[in-house]
Symmetry: C2
Subunit: 276 residues, 2 copies
């Protein structure tokens, strides 16, 4: 896409609220755009489900957003990016960006040793999507499923001794099979950036922590080059498949303090069962 | 139901695998029956979802089982029993038994002080179904949402220091508003019986722990009086909405060691989207 084009409408999709960390990173880098966010809160979490269901639900969500005129779709969900990128690309005719490739790029940009650890959901780890993406960049990768981190974040236990203990156990287990050369940890789930300060204390200092949200925002700018995305104010529309009230309550912690409260004015229920 | 009737077919429904603790208790007490179990594993967990979705999913599952000729349906899921009992009863024409009333009966049978604590999911607590059921039996009730216990059990951290710490935090928070007269703790989620030995160490000794599975089995016997349920061997059929393999892997820990491996021979995928 080149030339002086219209102000784009960008779709961001997640199984729930975690993808709001991706939306936040994108909107900060590209404020001159309209954003439609879709959170499949009635069927979350995807991280423990099978490929077939993740593909089915994600494709339905992608079609829902495509029908509302988005120019580009960002899959702000590692599990859907890992398990269903091709299904989603087949379901819609607009460009689709996942978070795995940008995450792997971000790791490649800072690693010297080419040995990485990835923390992700059970389903993302089982797919080995990060392992393959990082192998193409010359990495040996140690994937570690961390299924308790999402519920801990959702419970709001962002910085508690229990969460630290869980993070410590996962870190020890992840590093057990690794060499001492590991110099990068990829946060392969959009919930995990909220645990970054805690993880920074737990993970050895030689290991840099990267999350894919900012790398994904850079990918998006490349895709939409020609648009002037940097000046202007974003607009937001949110669609969720379960309770609007619950989403309004959970969203601010993921969107962060720099997003104004008016951001969450337009939240609607979407019935994906009926639109599939 | 009275008289010397045919060998009954009993449906047990849960959002996932937790209801297997109920199936186990029932089949132990009433082995002379055919059991159909339905686990809505593609949409679990229900405990964090809204009433509307729990009612919609549960009713679809109830219809699925009713179409397969069950004589009676046991809702082996506290969240569905709390939020959707009337929706489920409206959806099918067979008798339906939830776990809340039997659980309240079990508490009433052993409590002297009539002051109880209930551990349950977020959705079950928000519905106050246990509070109401226990109030009808003269109880003051302290409900405590314990959203981390399900993921801890599913992760297999049945008896770890982290789980003990989480249980301790929940127990302290639950008892903070209670008087020292509390003498019963109701496990209001079918995952929690697996944590019973750990909870027994954490919860003050004066407090008895009850789970509703056995009480539900007694209710069922009353409903099916006239049938001789006690002599014979049960048959099992399982339906799940997500991966059969994953269910086969998770089920044994919930069914317990006294259930033979052949029990899990007949597990089928059910597409609830198509049958709704």
């Amino acid at each position: 896409m080149t030339g002086n084009l219209h102000r784009p409408t960008i779709g961001v999709f997640d199984s729930g609220v975690g993808g709001l960390t991706v939306l936040r990173a994108i909107a900060r880098l590209a404020p001159n755009a309209n954003y439609l966010f879709f959170g499949d809160t009635a069927r979350l979490p995807y991280g423990t489900k099978s490929q077939e269901f993740v593909a089915r639900y994600s494709s339905a969500a992608a079609r829902f957003l495509a029908e509302r005129g988005i120019d580009l779709l960002v899959i702000g969900c590692n599990t859907a990016s890992a398990l269903a990128l091709y299904d989603i690309k087949s379901a819609v005719s607009i460009p689709v960006i996942g978070v795995i490739e940008p995450g792997a790029d971000a790791a490649a940009a800072i690693s010297q040793s080419r040995e990485a650890v990835v923390f992700a959901t059970e389903a993302t780890c089982a797919s080995h999507a990060y392992q393959r993406a990082l192998a193409r960049r010359g990495f040996a990768t140690h994937e570690k499923a961390c299924p308790l981190l999402v519920p801990l974040v959702e419970e709001g236990w962002i910085d508690t001794p229990v969460t630290e203990q869980v993070a410590r156990i996962y870190t020890i287990e992840a590093l057990r099979t690794a060499s001492s050369n590991v110099d990068v940890l990829v946060l392969g789930c959009t919930h995990y950036p909220l645990l970054r300060p805690l993880l920074r204390r737990v993970v050895p200092q030689r290991i840099e922590i990267v999350d894919s949200a900012e790398a994904t925002a850079c990918s998006l700018l490349q895709f939409l080059r020609g648009h002037d995305l940097t000046a202007g104010a974003p607009t937001y529309k949110f669609f969720v498949t379960d309770s609007v009230e619950k989403f309004r309550k959970q969203a601010p912690v993921f969107l962060g303090l720099d997003v104004e409260l008016s951001t969450l004015e337009d939240v609607q229920r979407a019935d994906l069962d009926a639109t599939r």
